[in-house]
Amino acid sequence: SQQGEEDPQALSIQEGENATMNCSYKTSINNLQWYRQNSGRGLVHLILIRSNEREKHSGRLRVTLDTSKKSSSLLITASRAADTASYFCATEGGSWGKLQFGAGTQVVVTP
């Protein structure tokens, strides 16, 4: 069953603009992670935010987490054509590191 739901499903922006995508989930979590997938490839981990954290930065990425609303957002600043990819949120709530993934947001950045 899907735990995370991303919004929007697709996003088209121009280089230099910011891209924001949101993730909502249903049950309590230990952490929430964001992954990127370039076309037809495996997923690459971007950033992890723990349930007791509210905001985290990594380079041009900014992630927020609101556990009261069970939601997270990923902001990519000053986007580049190379940021074109699908972005997935994944929640970890139990043992053994099981992740529940959302359906993803497809981001297209045009030069």
Binding site: S1, Q2, G4, N30, N31, Q33, Y35, G40, R41, G42, L43, V44, H45, L48, R50, F88, A90, E92, W96, G97, K98, L99, Q100, F101, G102, A103, G104
Partner: protein, 113 residues
């Protein structure tokens, strides 16, 4: 540099065939996972293994089995392939400690005809 490899990038099999998908990681990770990815559904967990010879069912285990005889290798087996198993299959691994990322292989795109 961490690495998860999968035996094939593309695979075409016929209905009823037995299919083996192999995954190897070189990071000495305890946990390994098999997912399938379908458009609009994201990644769904098929099986995972928390250690050698250990396995647990994920969300969609029907029609699949797994084998983990060595720590670095996790195999997904389709006992009798069906057309509804046409999908992208992704393997991942991670350390036993909590709050660590999963490392993914490049994926195997399986087509069952």
């Amino acid at each position: 540099d961490v690495k998860v490899t999968q035996s094939s990038r593309y695979l075409v099999k016929r209905t009823g065939e037995k299919v083996f998908l192999e995954c190897v990681q070189d990071m000495d990770h305890e946990n390994m996972f098999w997912y399938r990815q379908d458009p609009g559904l994201g990644l769904r967990l098929i099986y995972f293994s928390y250690d050698v010879k250990m396995k647990e069912k994920g969300d969609i285990p029907e029609g699949y089995s797994v084998s983990r005889e060595k720590k670095e290798r996790f195999s997904l087996i389709l006992e009798s392939a069906s057309t509804n198993q046409t999908s992208m299959y992704l393997c991942a691994s991670r350390t036993q400690q909590s709050s660590y990322e999963q490392y993914f292989g490049p994926g195997t795109r399986l087509t069952v005809t």
